[in-house]
């Protein structure tokens, strides 16, 4: 009997593999590796039950993050995808902004690109600790608002925030430059020893600053006559 649907059989179809398939597949694989590294970090941090923002905790988390991402080849776009995966995805059961920030910072610090641009305007959460230890050959541009402890321990890199930050921005930074287009919160630059912190909007309050320069609306506000360096 003649097949009545014979005319449809392979009619004009070819289903060929195009480079888009490869790009998407590789993107998914990379994201999955990055997520695995993050989950490892969370497993380690979960032992402490409560994630306290202490210098030793951040150092420990950073070294675990570095180990977790060893051998992963990624680009700045992958880091951005990871940020959105944290925000939206059901792959990650919980988002702890501290470890997430440390992990993203580690990814940025070890990325191949010198300039990394993260478009995070649509993120529902504000990630803390972005730009932690940003080294001297890197420029990190974040479009959107960020959380607390942004750019702490900055180590020569340039961090540009196209939005606002919260408290303790630039705390403990050694060298480099942080530019924030809008406003910052309390304890800005707490314990910073060098570098420049430039804020386009307003700063709610400065921390105990040891060294470096802080500008508010193009005006040098530290060091000046009213605010002297603090010695711990």
């Amino acid at each position: 009997m003649k097949n009545p649907f014979e005319a449809f059989h392979h009619a004009g179809t070819r289903k060929r593999e195009i480079p888009l398939d490869t790009i998407l597949k590789s993107k998914e694989e990379t994201l999955s590796k990055i997520l695995t590294g993050y989950e490892d970090l969370l497993k380690n941090e979960a032992k402490d039950l409560v994630w306290l923002m202490q210098y030793s905790t951040v150092i420990k988390a950073y070294s675990i993050a570095e180990k977790g991402m060893e051998g992963i080849e990624y680009t700045a776009e992958d880091i951005e995808e990871f940020c959105y995966a944290l925000d939206h995805s059901d792959q990650i059961p919980y988002l702890i902004t501290g470890p997430a920030g440390v992990y993203i910072s580690a990814l940025c610090n070890h990325a191949q690109e010198e300039e990394i641009r993260l478009q995070l305007r649509d993120l529902n959460v504000k990630i803390n600790l972005l730009g932690y230890r940003l080294p001297s050959n890197k420029q990190l541009i974040v479009e959107g608002n960020v959380g607390d402890f942004t750019g702490i321990g900055l180590d020569g890199g340039e961090l540009i925030i196209e939005g606002s930050g919260k408290n303790y921005t630039g705390a403990g930074m050694k060298q480099g430059k942080i530019v924030v287009r809008h406003n910052l919160g309390f304890n800005t630059g707490h314990g910073m020893t060098g570098g420049e912190l430039m804020v386009g909007g307003r700063i709610k309050g400065l921390g105990k600053i040891v060294g470096g320069k802080v500008y508010e609306k193009d005006q040098l506000i530290f060091p000046n006559e009213g605010i002297k360096p603090f010695y711990f």
């Binding site: 179809t13 480079p19 888009l20 790009i23």
Partner: protein, 524 residues
Amino acid sequence: MEIEDIIQKVWPRVRRKHLYPQLPLPNVIEGGEDVALEIKSKQLSISSAFYQSLKGKMDGEEIVEAVLDHGITHYMYCPWDFHTHISLYNEAKKVVKQKDQAQKATTYFMDVVTDTYCVKERDTKLATLYRNLPTTGVHKVLTALYEKIWGEDLGNGEHEELVNRLSRIPYLERKRWGESIKKFTKVIQDLLEEEWENEHQRSPGESNPNPMGEHSLENYSLEEIDRGLREFAGAVEDLQEFKETVDDLKVELEEKGYGTGGMGRGKGNPIDANLLYYMKLAESYTLPLRQLPIEKRGFLHPHAHRPWEIGKPFADIDVWTSFGKIMPGMTQMWTKREGETHGEYEGTPDCLIIIDSSGSMINPRERLSYAVLGAACACNAYLKHESRAAVYNFSDALRGNKIVLDFNHAKEHIYQALCRYFGGGTALDLDDITYLLSCADNPDIFIITDMQITNLEKLIDFFNHIENRVTAVHLGHNVHATRFKDGTVKKKNISLFNVKNKEDIPKIVLGKVKEYMTSSLKWS
């Protein structure tokens, strides 16, 4: 060969390739040389000037085939229907906030999806076509994107950063189109703004159109638009989202003759996006249509012939088929049967909606009000059964905050009355209700309120003295609702529903409407 002949030759092949879409034979228009294709309803039209301008660069059949591949795939894959189109526009608008730019972004995204699908799934010459098209602005970026994601040399390898970002979007995953168009629009946002500014600086004749044609409401019929809006109303997160999108398309919708009065020819009424939202949402709540009952007619009619035998009545003989002879076995007589026919409804009563729009209720023009939606569903059901609906919308009625809409069939007027929000105190003027009840024969009454009515005792007393079927839906639990319940407990014609989830209101109302309608025989 002329373009018409090429279309005649290529069309069967292209149809077969796309699994025989239900589209008419494409025609040729005297369009400009910048735009290849025009799509109106289901008619594809190829510009002869465009064809002539490319004829020297590539084979004529290939030009026509590639353009048709593009056009057909819009019907067969993306956007597929008006709902998908409007949903994509809605997502793009969330990023760019500007109507023209959102429309452009939607067009570009749909083109990328369509062409990529064609290149992956069909045997097409689209790559050759794009190689020969002049590219500027966004088109330049898109051609570079095609080069990267299709793996074809299109002579354009610029805009690496943008193309890198664009190439990571899963264009062929339909479920992720909403999220994808947002990413897509975000990446090309600066280019869209640049293009928009350039368009505004240019004189009207110097525009830079999309070579593969623009996508607008022209592509869809009124029925498709109506269905698309209904689906869109059910899919959006809130009323404001629907309102914003419909307001953007208001001019085009009105030009097309679409109005809240329904579909039809001629210029429609001005579109009120709020009314349209409730209309479309209410349409998605359906009541099964009652079938007309089959009834015996009560008298006999000739049904079939059988041979006449002695002893059978002469009156039943059919003289015409018996050749004028009376002869048993040869003479034919009629056998008779009692006739059956479709009966009539006993008649569905009219309905009176009493709706509270005091300050404690949601403003239906700001957020989705399930109270209004429930009332709208009830009205729809009664209107469909050719009954009339009246509305008594009240806040502090004694101070004039009320609408008394008499019994009528005009859906738009009824919706306007339902969507009116006063936002004041809560008191009924029972004289108005008495008047409305006097205008119809035993109408069904639906009252939707939170029961915090100042003259509740009078209302209870009033309901205790009428015999109409009353459905009272109250939101939230309070002492007033308990009082109403206690006060009307003996009345079997009053059903009281305490609604915990507002989302349940339309279903409760429709459930009651269904019950009333199936029991209307007994009632009347």
